[in-house]
Amino acid sequence: MNDANKPPLFPPPLAGGDGEGESGIRLTPEQQRARRARSIAIAVSLGVLVVLFYIVTLVKGPAVLVRPL
């Protein structure tokens, strides 16, 4: 088997690829906008959670997880 007939080592990107000649699913502009909005929402939610834990740690002190059950 010569090199030209070998299968590619990695599959082509499935979604969102912008390079010419790539196969797989191409996102429409609407799908790209929706995905970007969802990604930002997830990032903001995680950021809020991190900040929340940080502030509560400051409020409750270093012993934040030491509590009577």
């Binding site: 799908q31 929340l52 509560v56 409020v59």
Partner: protein, 304 residues
């Protein structure tokens, strides 16, 4: 109309669709009643911890809403009122909504337990489980008493707010739970009276579908007759001042008058729609007055 279970195309669901899954209007009432429970509780909670508790309760309520929409997607698709929800409209798949709801449920309970207290977290977990398993999966499709018993889930947030502060149970938040519990049937049955066809099409055994409009109007009046004096009990037992008592009794009298009109209504649903609209104001007034009463009491104590 059927529910789409899979799609070939990537999702176009926006952030708004995920927010819609969390039933923001229901969530706002849950947060408000929990806030009042938190404010009227004795003791002090740091504002940051209080806000954290409210965020967790809001997210927990959102999780319950999302899991409800996941399970009820088939009947939502058959009802005019709910056909535009994200799953029946085809913008989200049930397989996308289930992990979203589970993640929010687990996350809200764990964060509430870690950052506020374990008792409140256990109560929040029980509330979510009751709403999803007992109400959504069991009662809703099997009995006309679905919203009566299932209403307990919507009644518990003031108790969660109270427990977030005190880590204990008391009579005062139990009265608030009872008020919401007895408020739920007249509120939802007034709605279901003018949505009977919708519920019948979806095969949901709401009281007007199973027992007819006449019996539903009678039951609305009975529950309202219990609710009106019950609404004044925080004042009667000395947990709230006279202004609360006056507002609760007056608003209760209006509720009874509207329920009597619903009972007498022969044609159309004008009285039912009025009762449905006023019932929201009624609950808001009662809890707002509790808040005002507690804030005024705190201010007077501070000035004395």
């Amino acid at each position: 109309m059927s529910v789409t279970l899979a799609r070939a195309e990537p999702s176009i669901a926006g952030v708004g669709d995920y927010i819609a899954l969390m039933k923001p209007r229901v969530m706002s009432l849950v947060v408000f009643t929990a806030f009042v429970g938190l404010m009227v509780a004795p003791g002090h909670l740091h504002p940051v911890i209080a806000v954290t508790a409210l965020i967790c309760i809001a997210v927990g309520a959102g999780a319950a809403g999302a899991l409800n929409m996941w399970y009820d997607a088939d009947i939502d698709a058959r009802m005019t009122r709910t056909a535009a929800r994200p799953i029946p409209a085809g913008r989200l798949l049930p397989g996308e909504v289930l992990p979203f709801g589970l993640m929010l449920a687990v996350g809200s309970v764990v964060v509430l337990g870690l950052l506020v207290n374990v008792s409140a977290a256990v109560l929040l977990a029980a509330t979510i489980a009751f709403y999803v398993i007992v109400y959504t999966m069991w009662l809703k499709r099997t009995t006309p008493q679905n919203i009566v018993i299932g209403g307990l889930a919507g009644a518990l947030p003031p108790l969660i707010g109270w427990v977030a502060v005190t880590e204990s149970f008391a009579v005062e938040p139990a009265l608030l739970v009872l008020i919401i519990f007895f408020w739920t049937p007249p509120h939802f049955w007034a709605l279901s009276l003018y949505r009977t066809d919708d519920y019948a099409r979806a095969g949901i055994p709401m009281l007007p579908v199973v027992a007819g409009a006449k019996e539903t109007r009678r039951q609305i009046l009975i529950y309202t007759l219990v609710l009106a004096p019950l609404g004044a009990t925080p004042w009667f037992f000395g947990y709230a001042g006279p202004w609360y008592g006056v507002v609760a009794l007056l608003a209760g009298a209006v509720m009874i008058a509207l329920a009597l009109r619903v009972r007498a209504e022969q044609r159309g649903y004008a009285a039912s729609k009025q009762l449905f609209a006023f019932s929201i104001l009624y609950l808001f007034l009662l809890f707002a007055m509790l808040l005002v009463d507690r804030l005024a009491g705190g201010l007077a104590g501070h000035l004395a």
